[in-house]
């Protein structure tokens, strides 16, 4: 480890290279973090544009703007792009920027692999998006790509989809290995495991989840590839295969994947609430244990996505109880955040607003998740808009709000400039209103009986669908303001101090703003 530090010590006076090669060849964790964040933002806008198409079609009953065939392509790509292109790379970007600075390391442990894991991503999404222009159109079987709709009955572009998923998986696995190796080997002396910032803890756990489940996803798509091109029948009942097997494999990946998209958010929100409450986090160790238990439980609840496939009674009961158990550690986290704010000295800067909205709206999403765990009730909720409302509540004002909170919180450290607080607050309130107007009515639509993935619907769902669409347009267009705020901050603005926030604690606040190209070439002293 000392060798690594010395190497960086020698070239610490080297600044970034000039021009495009700086970004192509970079092995610097800050540059790669920036690349990840911009990439995910671009994907967020593309996936968001698709959501606008979906909501425009659903604005009124009847088919107006797109055909059902294209509608299915939109819902599929929207899901895939937001998950694999939006949320996951954004968290990897944040990990790149923050993990080394938070543990007092000079860089990520595997910088060249870091470059590779980012630069294969644009190819993956280029392939995925290019399928829109192929004969037969883009994948149209939903982001969950259940066989045999995604095998025997899929458009020819499914092969490109499989290749693209493989690349995304390889990128995620490399990114995760890098995070684990960095955290395990490069902590500055004195940064013990139980002294690590919670964001680092959340990412350590996330990285293990990624390493465990991305190969399972790769296995699922490879079996699809075999079924489509090499005459096997893994998922084809007519050949002795089993379509339900696909769902077991998929959700064994898919459920931990859900926590991959929320654990780093837990870390982020913990830091922000602590900072703006000016008070120590209520229970650090219980937060760590809660995240660990959530991660472990995530491996034994997958079939709660499959309550209607005809599982035996014993399996239904097991998966119901196991799923409900997750509410306990999740509750511990929410109670901790509230207890941290209690009798604190709170101010409401933009990151704090997003963090508070996260706690409230994520909790609503968590509670509807609890309702979905109740099997007999799930027979009514399953595959309706109630589910759509539930997972958008945990992913949009959950994962995405946490990412926005993180950007506002750390952008002064990244760019050296303060963002415009007035515009930031405006962005928050527009997003907050937009998200709730979009997704809250979807609970009603779902309970009243509208299935998800429907391009058209019966007349009794018309009112709330229109409200939902109006909210979606509001939320969508508010993100242009976000882009503007970020650009404005990067290009100039009030200079930030090193400390930036009065209540902020952690090693990243001990360096100057903007953070120098190389930080902690010699390990910091920890008291």
């Amino acid at each position: 480890m000392s060798a690594v530090i010395e190497n960086h010590h020698e070239d610490h006076h080297h600044g970034p290279a000039k021009g495009i090669t700086r970004w192509l060849y970079t092995t610097n964790h800050k540059d790669i973090g920036t690349l990840y964040l911009w990439f995910s933002f671009a994907m967020f806008l593309i996936g968001g544009a698709m959501a606008m198409v979906i909501r425009a079609e659903l604005f009124q009953p009847g088919m107006q703007i797109v055909e059902p065939e294209f509608y299915n392509q939109m819902i599929t790509l929207h899901g895939l792009i937001m998950i694999f292109g939006g949320v996951m790379p954004a968290f990897v970007g944040l990990a790149n920027w923050l993990v080394p600075m938070m543990i007092g390391a000079p860089d990520m442990a595997l910088p060249r692999m870091n470059n590779l894991s980012f630069w294969i991503l644009p190819f993956a999404f280029f392939i995925l998006l290019s399928s829109l222009f192929m004969e037969g159109g883009a994948p149209n079987f939903g982001w969950t790509f259940y066989a045999p709709l995604s095998t025997t009955y899929a458009p020819p572009s499914v092969t490109f989809f499989i290749f693209s998923v493989h690349i995304m998986g390889a990128s995620s696995i490399m990114g995760a290995i890098n995070v684990v190796v960095t955290i395990m080997n490069m902590r500055a002396p004195g940064v013990d495991l139980m002294k690590m910032p919670l964001f680092v803890w959340s990412w350590l756990i996330t990285a293990y989840l990624l390493i465990a489940v991305m190969p399972v996803l790769a296995g699922a798509v490879t079996m699809m590839l075999m079924d489509i091109h090499f005459g096997t029948s893994f998922f084809n009942a007519a050949g002795g295969g089993d379509p339900v097997l696909f769902q077991h494999i998929f959700w064994f990946f898919g459920h931990p994947e859900v926590y991959i998209m929320i654990l780093p958010a837990f870390g982020i929100v913990s830091h922000i609430i602590e900072t703006f409450s000016r008070k120590q986090l209520f229970g650090y160790s219980s937060m760590v244990w809660a995240m660990l238990s959530i991660a472990i439980l995530s491996f034994v609840v997958w079939a709660h996505h499959m309550f209607t496939v005809g599982l035996p009674l014993a399996a239904e009961i097991f998966f119901m109880w196991a799923t409900m158990l997750i509410a306990v550690p999740t509750g511990v986290k929410v109670f901790n955040w509230v207890a941290t704010m209690f009798r604190g000295s709170i101010t409401f800067e933009t990151p704090m607003l997003f963090a508070i909205a996260f706690v409230v709206l994520f909790t609503i999403g968590g509670l509807s998740g609890l309702m979905l765990a109740i099997v007999p009730a799930d027979f009514q909720y399953h595959d309706t808009y109630f589910v759509v409302a539930h997972f958008h509540y945990v992913l949009v004002p959950g994962a995405i709000f946490s990412i926005m909170a993180a950007v506002y919180y750390w952008i002064p450290k990244w760019s050296g400039n303060m963002y415009d607080e007035r515009l930031g607050k405006l962005h928050f309130w527009l997003s907050f209103a937009g998200v709730n107007i979009t997704f809250f009515p979807q609970h009603f639509i779902g309970l009243a009986g509208m299935p998800r993935r429907y391009p058209d619907y019966a007349l009794q769902f018309a009112d709330w669908n229109m409200v939902s669409s109006v909210g979606a347009f509001l939320f969508g267009f508010s993100q242009i303001l976000f882009l503007f705020i970020v650009l404005k901050t990067v290009m100039g603005g009030k200079k930030a101090t090193g400390q930036v926030w009065e209540g902020a604690k952690g090693l990243e606040w001990t360096v100057a703003s903007p953070a120098p190209y190389h930080t902690f070439s010699t390990p910091p002293k920890i008291d």
Partner: protein, 382 residues
Amino acid sequence: MFFKLFKILKGKAIPFYLLLISPALSADWFALNMTRGITDISNEVFELHMLIFWICVAIGALVFSVMFYSMWAHTKEKNPVPAKFHENHKLEIAWTIIPFLILIAMAVPASKTLVKIYDDEAGDINIQVTGYQWKWQYRYLEDDVSFFANLSTDLDEIYNLVPKGENYLQEVDEMVVIPAGKKIRFLITANDVIHSWWMPSFAIKQDAIPGFVNTAWTIVDEPGIYRGKCTELCGKNHGFMPIVVKVVEQAEYEEWVFGKRQEAIKLAELTTKEWSAEELVARGEGIYEVNCVACHQTSGQGISGIFPALAGSDIVMNNKDRNIEILMEGVQGAAMNSFSYLSEVELAAVITYTRQSWGNADKGDGEIVIPKDIVDYKEPKI
């Protein structure tokens, strides 16, 4: 896209919808909550739903009120010096144990209801439900009745050319008829991709999976018409394969079964009748619209890259035997399934229709297929 949207916004629907947008005024409670349903089980599920709903509301209210109190009382202005406390084992144990107990209070009644739902003995009437892209087939196993149910909403309604009817997208050409007060068991499966048979009023949702038979049962006491939907993405027309069940008194049910059997006998007689090309084409058009149009399109052009064109197709125009073979056996590895479940008359008519339409008759051999051809095809295989 935005141009079209703008046109809709400009349309006269707008003042009407502005009224509706003030939600609480127009949307009644039933548009906001789960349907209570009409069976014992569906009522139990509804009660369970309301129980967990109110528990969740209570938890949310408690947590958020503490949080909002802090946001109001513990701002930097009102409380410039933050408290120093952290970690309190008694509190932490309490907020682990209490939620755990609440969860048990929810899970126990849920498990009990589930056990009832899984009581899976044979019903008085067993109906096999088979999902197809994009329709449902119902076979009454005891009564020897079998039919398909297709969406009966007019395409013009879907494409906004005429006003939408009251049961827009919730109506079918043939309802499932069941008698009141009898235990009905549904045996649910699929022919192509996975579908899901959902009838909210009975609280039944079971996936229809090729190669599997899932079961569900119900006893409905109240005669009436109940509407449900497909709830597993099954392709292009996933949103257009509704379910309608009509519950009638026993006597009416028996009458219906008798009528269905008479229909089947009449259809069988048609097989031996002498057919002219015109008669077959006229009959075939309707069958084409119900069974083929979704993929091959009204124009016979298919969809480039996914569904082949029939207009100008060499097989359709010149290869009568292969024509019959494809309809009977399907095409391996493609979306084209076997349509052997159609009657001989229907198959002959629809094949003749495709051979005679879109100028195919002039370009190809123009021969017609009669029901006897289909019977002959089936013969050697038996």
